[in-house]
């Protein structure tokens, strides 16, 4: 099913199709809510990931902390942020990496009023 928001550039809307694709990735992320799981994950990330029926691409995205790839593979932003929390990493630094900016560039952009919507409303140019 195509959706009206497919026309919005650089924007991941978490549809049912993404939820299905990312089911086990997101369940893995949710497991990091428990301190004992966070400890087990940090002790041996690969072994912990191998307990989940995730795709290799999903596991690699987690191991490499590639948040754009996690979203691409069906991760929901609020679930993959739990991987950042394990690292003690801020939401802002994740947002920067999703934007392809350094944390410094991104932080400066936000302090200057954020990213303007101009030119970022529509792929088709309708808006």
């Amino acid at each position: 099913m195509t959706n009206a928001f497919d026309d919005i550039p650089g924007t991941v809307v978490f549809t049912g199709e993404r939820a299905r694709r990312g089911r086990h990735l997101n369940r893995f992320c949710m497991s990091l809510m428990k301190p004992e799981n966070r400890a087990r994950f940090l002790a041996d990330e690969r072994a912990y990931l191998d307990e989940w029926p995730m795709t290799e691409a999903q596991k690699r995205a987690v191991l490499e902390r590639d948040f754009a790839a996690m979203l691409e593979e069906g991760g929901n932003i609020f679930f993959v942020l739990k991987v950042a929390a394990v690292d003690g990493r801020s939401t802002q630094s994740v947002a920067a990496s999703l934007a392809g900016q350094t944390p410094e560039e991104y932080g400066a952009m936000m302090r200057a009023g954020g990213r303007s919507p101009e030119g970022l409303r529509s792929i088709s140019g309708r808006f």
Binding site: F5, N76, I77, V94, L98, A99, M110
Partner: protein, 297 residues
């Protein structure tokens, strides 16, 4: 009889909670935000609401994707602050109002709103950060809270219109609760911000201003806006603004804006805040040296 005396809209950025909890409120980055709520802290201290119906969304704290309720009402006696991955916020337990929560649930379900009833639910920054902004750091929250969680993280969220209509139904329910209670409805989330995708960092001050203007004066225009327009203009997470419409719907056709605050940024987000009163009870509600509608920052 219980009555809805005011509505509060507020962003619920987690970094604001962290700044408060770690004593950073006086740092230059955070001071303007906390200053922007000072009027409201004085206002609510004078208003002394008994119950807040607090419309917010869960962020992968109480709900996994195994179970996504569109609207979930908290009927429990109390709600613990959630561990969002770095330990729970050190804020007081949230005390519910189960009698009123059940009364609302019964009333709106019979009006054909399909609520999910929660008797055990941890509450995350979406609920506790607005409490902190409005009440500071008390040892106990000076109010009871009925959490009303709205799904906005799994597409599709309820429509803006549905959120508004739920607010209207809640107002009818509150009006038939026999106890004499001063009830506020809060809508939280937003304002414009985006995390998911390469457009991360989006801020749309023009849209946010329009939203706040229309919230008071022309809410019908916000009710009919489709999800894609909220996302396009306010960002993928800015769509949280639909929750403000439940608050607005509960206030009746005409409202007066007592206070407005807007500031960019808090971490990734534009911070917005309004205090609204139903036009009927507006006079009585002004109990303080109310700042006339003012845009800070």
């Amino acid at each position: 009889m219980a009555r809805i005396t005011a509505g509060v809209g507020s962003s619920h950025v987690p970094a604001i909670g962290a700044a408060l909890d770690r004593g950073r409120t006086h740092q230059p980055e955070w001071r303007p935000i906390f200053a922007g709520y000072e009027w409201s802290q004085r206002w609510i201290a004078a208003e002394r609401p008994d119950v807040i119906i607090l419309v917010y969304n869960d962020h992968a704290s109480a709900f996994s994707l195994d179970f996504v309720p569109t609207f979930a009402i908290g009927c429990a006696d109390s709600f613990a602050p959630a561990d969002e991955g770095w330990g729970p916020r050190q804020v007081p337990e949230v005390i519910g109002h189960p009698e009123l929560a059940w009364h609302i649930a019964q009333s709106v379900i019979l009006e054909e709103f399909d609520l999910t009833l929660m008797d055990r639910m941890d509450v995350d920054h979406g609920l506790t950060v607005p409490l902190s902004l409005m009440f500071g750091q008390p040892t106990a929250w000076p109010v009871r809270v009925i959490p009303l969680a709205v799904n906005v993280i799994q597409y599709p969220a309820p429509t803006a219109n549905r959120c508004y209509r739920l607010g209207e139904a809640i107002a009818r329910a509150v009006a038939t609760f026999p106890e004499d209670l001063n009830v506020q409805v809060w809508g939280t989330g937003g304002m414009s911000h985006q995390l998911a995708g390469s457009r991360a960092g989006l801020i749309n001050r023009e849209f946010d201003t329009l939203f706040l203007d229309r919230l008071s004066e022309a809410p019908d225009a916000l009710r009919v806006m489709p999800h894609e327009e909220y996302i396009r203009e306010a960002g993928s997470e800015g769509m949280e603004l639909i929750m403000w419409l439940t608050m607005r719907g509960a206030l009746g056709p005409r409202v007066r804006e007592l206070y407005r605050f807007y500031h960019v940024p808090a971490s990734n987000t534009a911070v917005g805040h309004v205090v609204l009163v139903p036009e009927e009870t507006g006079e009585r509600s002004v109990t303080d040296d109310a700042v006339p509608r003012s845009a800070a920052a």
